[in-house]
Assembly symmetry: C2
Amino acid sequence: MSNNRKSRTVYAILGFLCSKPRSGYDIKKAIEKSVGFFWSESYGQIYPILKKLVEDGLAEKLQDELPSSRKRQRYAITDKGRKQLAHWIEQDADYRGFRNELLLKLFFGTTVDTEVSIRHLRDFIVHEKKRLEMFEGFHATLPGNKEQMTPNIVFLTATLNYGLSGTQHNIKWAEETIGMLEELDKQ
Amino acid sequence: MSNNRKSRTVYAILGFLCSKPRSGYDIKKAIEKSVGFFWSESYGQIYPILKKLVEDGLAEKLQDELPSSRKRQRYAITDKGRKQLAHWIEQDADYRGFRNELLLKLFFGTTVDTEVSIRHLRDFIVHEKKRLEMFEGFHATLPGNKEQMTPNIVFLTATLNYGLSGTQHNIKWAEETIGMLEELDKQ
DNA sequence: AGCACCATGTAAGTGGTTACATGATTCC
DNA sequence: GGAATCATGTAACCACTTACATGGTGCT
């Protein structure tokens, strides 16, 4: 108990500031592009937290080349910020809090026509196949051989593999489940 | 856009009232036992919503045998409630909002010792193996042959299969990822 | 008597999304 | 000029968890 219900947004932001200074806008885009399939943040969280990170000395505002045009305000992580991030990462991960709406609707499948459940599964397959294409496209750009495995690429590959094989698994499950439901409908 | 950010708790509750009248306490326990691996609700949501369901005519308070002892207040779903539940189920499921803290920590793996990431993966394997045992125990109680497949059992099996094969897949992924990280550490 | 569990509920606080406002820049 | 996108921010609102209060029941 006890260690949860703290915002992980702070650490998501610090994590993305780790590689290079970024603006709030940059951070949002970076999250969408790289970890978007298992994480998301909104501007309504990002901007206030960036401000707070500066207050707490975990990040600092960069005064960029053109102070006159105040658009694009970049932030850099501080040593204190790096330490705090590392400390969070070292804590046990929290597996709780998953919620799967598709499964819930499926679980209540007896209360609607079986076709409704089948339609949900078909929609899910379409959705997952699109994601699969995206993953495969991204995966093709990564080196497959061990020699070129830098730490960065390894961790990227690890999370990507999760998405890739997880999506394949989801499609297989959905297809099998449709088969099961069609069998039921025949009787 | 637009269809989200409505509480799904209402429908989770209605769904569990569908099979039989239950108390708030019953609902919580039923959720934990049956859909706990992909859904959860807290009393702080359940009790106020039950009250609201009655106000909206989606459920009604049962006056149980012993009105003197007011403990254990059961609720029954109404026709209006059933209709509303069915309507919700028929809407497209929302796949968004997944957040996976383990993957986020792993994604930031370059900022900590590789052992930290490996430890997280080992912990995850332990966690998932416990879940797997639970799933397998439950799975063993279900009939495997098609003849005994009632609708109820089919939908139960569908969600259970998701958990079962998903967990197996997670373990495999975690083991492979550990292998990849150990390879990296050797160099 | 004391403990575990059954059972209902509320208040406070937090994490997060959405919608809106605003304006600069780039490119056709 | 107009559209798309870059970019920053805020206010309102909501869903949800946590912690706490309260008391009954059943067992040893």
